[in-house]
C-alpha cells in the first residue's frame, strides 16, 4: 500500500478545485496550475515501479476494487507527461490564450489515473474525465464558432469511442468476472489459441477507442479540427501528451502478442492482424504527411504532422519486436518533445502575430531569434536530422521494419519522412523566413519565462538526441517487462539496430568539428556586409506605385503547387469516386458516411441512442 500513488491523482484534483475558484484571476489560475504540476512532479519522484494501491468501493451492492499499479510503462509515461506539462504550464504563465488551468489539472488527474490504473472501471472513469475535460478545453479557441464545432466533433468521436470501450469492458467482465486489467489480459492470452476471433473482436472494441484518441486512420478526422481550433496554450498538451493515451492503451494490449498463436503469419513473420495494423500506421503516416503539405493554417499543418508521427509509432509498435517496440516508444517520446516544442513556439508566434495563417506571416526570425532557433531545432528533430532527438527513433523504426522484411511499408514511411521535410520547411519558411511584413514591425521576442523554457527545450532536444541512452534504458525495461529481449544499449548513445549501428555522439563530434572548420573558413575568407531585406532582387526599390508591397514578395501562398497538381487525381478520386460513387449503393453509403462526418443534430442524437442501446445490451449481458 503506497498512499503516495493516490496523491498523484488527488493533488491535481485539489489544485483543480482551487484553480476553478480563482478562474477569474487569470494569472493566479495559471500559477496554481503550474505549482500543481510541479508538485505532482515532485510527488512522482517518490513513486517507484512495483508500487500499488487499492481501495474498495461499494457499488450497487457489490464491492469494486479500484487498483493503482505502477509498471515500467506507466512510470515512463507519467514522467514524460508530467514533466512536459510542467514545462508547458511554466511557459503559459503569461500567455494570452483562453485556456483554463483547472481543466488542464483535471486532465492531469485523469492522466495519472489512466497511466496507473489497473482496473477497468477506474481506467474508464479516468478516460471519460480526460475526454470531457479536453472537450471543454477545446471550446476556448480563438475562433469561437469554429472551436465550438471542433469540440462538438471531438466529443462525438470521443463518446463513440467510450461506448466501444464500455462494451468491451463489460464483455470482458462477463467472461472473467473481474475488472482487473492484468487479469483480463492474462485471460485473453490464455484463450487466444482457442478462440482467436473472439479475442480479436474484444480487443478491437478497445482498439477503436485507442485509435480514436491517438487519431489513427480512419478515425483521424477530429484531429485537425480539434488541434487547430483549441486554445493555443492547450494544443501543445493535446498534441504532445494526450495523443499518447491511445498509444499507451495499445501498448497495454500488445503483450497479447496479438494473434501470434491464433492466426497465421503474414509477410516477414508478422501475424497478419499486426500486419494490417502496421499498414494502418503506414497509411496514417503517409496520409498525414500528404495532407499536411497543403495546409495553410499552421496549427492544422502540425495537427496532420502529429497524425503522421503517430502513424510511425503505431507502425513500429504493431510489429511487436524488441526493435519495433523500442522504436515506437522512443518515437512517441520524441514526438512528445519536439511537437510540444513546436506547438509552444507556435503559441508564441500566434499570440504575437495574431494569425495562424501561414500566408499572412513571414520574416519573423529577426524579431524573435530565440523562438526561431527553438523552432529550427524542433523541425530538425521532427525531420529526423542528427544530432537532434527525432533521428534515433526514425532510424530504429526503419531498422525494425527492414528486419521484418517489409520493404514497401518502409518505402512509404520514407516517403512520409521526405514529405515531412517538405511541410516542416514550408511552415518554417512561411513563419520565420522570407520578407517581414510591416505589420509585424513591433513584434517582440518572448518574455524571460518564455526564453528560459525555449532554451530548456532546445537543450532537451539536443541532449536526448546526443545521448539517447538515457531514454533507451527505461524503454529497455519496458520492453523487458513485456517479455521481449531489450535492445543492447552499450553506452549512452550507442544504438544497435539489427542491421547497423550508430554511435550518436560520434555524429555530434563530427558535426562539431566540421562546423568549426566551416566557421574558420567563413571568417578567413573575404568580408561581407549586411544589407536590408529590401535589397534583394527588387534592388532596394519597392515599386509601391504599382501596388506592390513587401508582403507581395513573400512567397508562401500555394507553396507546393506542383505537388498539388501531382496529387490532384487522388483528391478527385476521394470526392468523386467515394461520395458520389458509381451507383446508388455507393451513393447511399457515401451520403450516410457524409452525414456522420458532417454531423447535424439528428445524427448526433442517433449516435447517442445507438450508444444507449449498446450500453443497455452491455448491462444486460453483465
Amino acid at each position: 500500500m503506497n498512499s503516495n500513488l493516490i496523491w498523484l491523482v488527488a493533488l491535481p484534483l485539489i489544485g483543480s478545485a482551487v484553480a476553478a475558484i480563482v478562474v477569474r484571476y487569470k494569472f493566479l489560475d495559471r500559477l496554481i496550475t503550474f505549482l500543481t504540476f510541479a508538485t505532482t512532479l515532485f510527488v512522482l519522484f517518490s513513486v517507484h515501479v512495483g508500487q500499488s494501491y487499492s481501495w474498495g468501493l461499494n457499488f450497487l451492492g457489490t464491492t469494486l476494487n479500484l487498483t493503482l499499479n505502477v509498471s515500467h510503462l506507466s512510470i515512463f509515461m507519467l514522467y514524460i507527461s508530467i514533466a512536459f506539462g510542467t514545462v508547458l504550464t511554466f511557459y503559459s504563465l503569461i500567455d494570452h490564450s483562453r485556456m483554463k488551468g483547472f481543466l488542464l489539472l483535471l486532465i492531469l488527474a485523469a492522466n495519472n489515473w489512466i497511466f496507473m490504473s489497473n482496473d477497468m472501471v477506474g481506467f474508464f472513469f479516468a478516460w471519460e474525465l480526460m475526454g470531457w475535460a479536453s472537450v471543454v478545453s477545446v471550446l476556448g479557441g480563438r475562433e469561437r464558432e469554429k472551436s465550438r464545432h471542433a469540440a462538438l466533433y471531438y466529443m462525438i468521436m470521443s463518446v463513440s469511442g467510450s461506448y466501444s470501450m464500455f462494451f468491451g469492458i463489460f464483455t470482458l467482465w462477463r467472461l472473467t468476472g473481474t475488472f482487473s486489467i492484468s487479469a483480463n489480459i492474462a485471460y485473453l492470452s490464455s484463450i487466444v489459441g482457442i478462440h482467436p476471433w473472439w479475442v480479436l473482436g474484444i480487443v478491437s472494441l478497445f482498439f477503436v477507442t485507442f485509435m480514436i484518441k491517438a487519431g489513427i486512420f480512419p478515425f483521424h478526422t477530429w484531429v485537425p479540427l480539434a488541434y487547430a481550433y483549441s486554445p493555443d496554450a492547450f494544443t501543445p498538451f493535446l498534441s504532445a501528451v494526450m495523443s499518447k493515451y491511445g498509444i499507451y492503451g495499445m501498448l497495454l494490449f500488445m503483450p497479447l502478442s496479438l494473434m501470434e498463436r491464433g492466426f497465421p503469419s503474414a509477410f516477414g513473420g508478422v501475424p497478419w492482424t499486426n500486419y494490417i495494423f502496421v499498414w494502418i500506421g503506414v497509411i496514417t503516416a503517409v496520409l498525414g504527411t500528404v495532407l499536411a503539405i497543403f495546409q495553410d493554417d499552421v496549427k492544422k499543418l502540425f495537427a496532420y504532422s502529429s497524425l503522421s508521427n503517430l502513424g510511425y509509432v503505431v507502425a513500429a509498435i504493431a510489429l511487436f519486436t524488441p526493435v519495433g517496440i523500442t522504436a515506437g516508444i522512443f518515437h512517441a517520446f520524441n514526438h512528445l518533445l519536439f511537437k510540444g516544442t513546436l506547438f509552444i513556439t507556435l503559441l508564441a508566434v500566434i499570440s504575437r502575430s495574431g494569425t495562424s495563417k501561414l500566408s499572412e506571416m513571414g520574416g519573423l526570425w529577426k524579431k524573435m531569434p530565440i523562438t526561431f532557433f527553438t523552432f529550427f531545432v524542433g523541425i530538425a528533430s521532427a525531420a529526423g536530422i542528427p544530432p537532434f532527438n527525432g533521428f534515433g527513433s526514425k532510424w530504429l523504426i526503419y531498422q525494425a521494419m527492414i528486419k521484418q522484411h517489409l520493404p514497401f511499408a518502409t518505402i512509404l514511411l520514407f516517403l512520409a519522412s521526405t514529405g515531412a521535410f517538405m511541410y516542416l520547411f514550408k511552415a518554417f519558411h512561411s513563419i520565420f523566413l522570407g520578407q517581414l511584413s510591416h505589420d509585424y514591425d513591433r513584434v517582440k521576442e518572448v518574455s524571460a519565462v518564455g526564453k528560459i523554457t525555449e532554451f530548456f527545450l532546445m537543450f532537451a532536444m539536443t541532449f536526448f538526441g546526443v545521448q539517447p541512452g538515457y531514454i533507451l534504458k527505461p524503454i529497455g525495461a519496458i520492453v523487458k517487462s513485456m517479455g521481449l529481449k531489450p535492445l543492447p544499449v552499450m553506452a549512452n548513445g550507442y544504438v544497435t539496430g539489427m542491421f547497423s549501428n550508430i554511435y550518436v555522439p560520434l555524429i555530434s563530434w563530427s558535426l562539431a568539428v566540421s562546423f568549426t572548420l566551416g566557421f574558420i573558413l567563413f571568417f578567413v575568407s573575404a568580408k561581407h556586409k549586411y544589407v536590408s531585406q529590401e535589397n534583394n532582387y527588387t534592388a532596394g526599390q519597392i515599386p509601391e506605385d504599382w501596388g506592390l508591397t513587401p508582403e507581395t514578395y513573400q512567397f508562401s501562398w500555394n507553396f507546393y503547387q506542383p505537388v498539388e497538381k501531382l496529387f490532384a487525381p487522388f483528391f478527385r478520386i476521394k470526392i468523386d469516386g467515394f461520395f458520389r460513387g458509381t451507383g446508388d449503393w455507393t451513393k447511399t453509403i457515401g451520403s450516410a458516411i457524409k452525414e456522420i462526418f458532417v454531423g447535424n443534430a439528428q445524427m448526433y442524437a442517433f449516435f447517442a441512442i445507438v450508444g444507449l442501446i449498446i450500453f443497455v445490451i452491455a448491462g444486460w449481458m453483465a
Partner: protein
C-alpha cells in the same frame, strides 16, 4: 608571402575566373549567343554568364540606355560586390550611337558608372567582345582595372551626374512656360 605577392596571386585567379552579368538593353545582345556558344566559346577563359548581380564580376551593358534603364543599371551595379568591372558595348554606350540626339537616351555611360573597357562598333563583332575579355583579363591580372575604386573615390561626381538625370525638378529647356500644362 608578402602583401604584394598575395594580391598578385589573387589578381591572377580573379583574371582566370570572371563571371558576367549581361544587361541586355539594345540590339547588341544578339552578339552574345555566338560568344557563349561553340563558335567563340567564352567559357574557355572561365567567363560564364550569371543570372544575378550578386554572383557577377563583369557587368556587360549591351547597348543604349534610356533614363529608366540607366536607373536599373545603377541599382544593379550597386548590388554587385567588389571587385567588379563594367564593359560598355557598342557606340550607344560611348556617345549615344544613333540615339545621339534622343530626348530619352543617355550619351556617355561613364558619366554615371565607371566603365573599364569600351567596345566600339555598331555593332561590335564577337571577336571584339572576346578581345575585350582578354584585355580585361590582362588589366585585372596587372591590377589596372580599378573602375570600382574610382567609383568609390569619386562617388560625389557620379552621384551628381546620376541625380542630374534622374532627379529633374524643373523643365530642362527654357520654353517651359509654353508647355501646355492645361492639356
Amino acid at each position: 608571402m608578402s602583401q604584394s605577392q598575395w594580391s598578385e596571386l589573387v589578381n591572377y585567379f580573379r583574371g582566370r575566373s570572371m563571371w558576367m552579368l549581361h544587361y541586355c538593353t539594345g540590339c547588341g545582345a544578339i552578339e552574345l549567343p555566338p560568344v557563349m556558344t561553340s563558335r567563340w566559346d567564352m567559357e574557355r577563359f572561365g567567363i560564364i554568364p550569371m543570372a544575378t548581380p550578386r554572383q557577377a564580376d563583369i557587368l556587360l551593358i549591351t547597348g543604349y540606355l534610356s533614363i529608366k534603364t540607366l536607373k536599373r543599371v545603377v541599382y544593379t551595379y550597386d548590388q554587385m560586390s567588389t571587385p567588379k568591372w563594367v564593359l560598355g558595348f557598342g557606340s550607344c554606350t560611348i556617345n549615344g550611337g544613333i540615339y545621339w540626339d534622343s530626348y530619352n537616351v543617355i550619351d556617355r555611360l561613364d558619366k554615371y558608372i565607371p566603365v573599364d573597357i569600351y567596345i566600339a562598333g555598331c555593332m561590335p563583332r564577337p571577336e571584339a567582345i572576346m578581345d575585350s575579355f582578354i584585355k580585361l583579363r590582362e588589366m585585372v591580372q596587372k591590377g589596372e582595372a580599378k573602375g570600382y575604386e574610382k567609383y568609390t573615390k569619386n562617388y560625389e561626381w557620379y552621384k551628381a551626374n546620376q541625380d542630374h538625370v534622374f532627379g529633374r525638378s524643373e523643365p530642362v529647356l527654357r520654353k517651359a512656360e509654353e508647355v501646355t500644362k492645361s492639356a
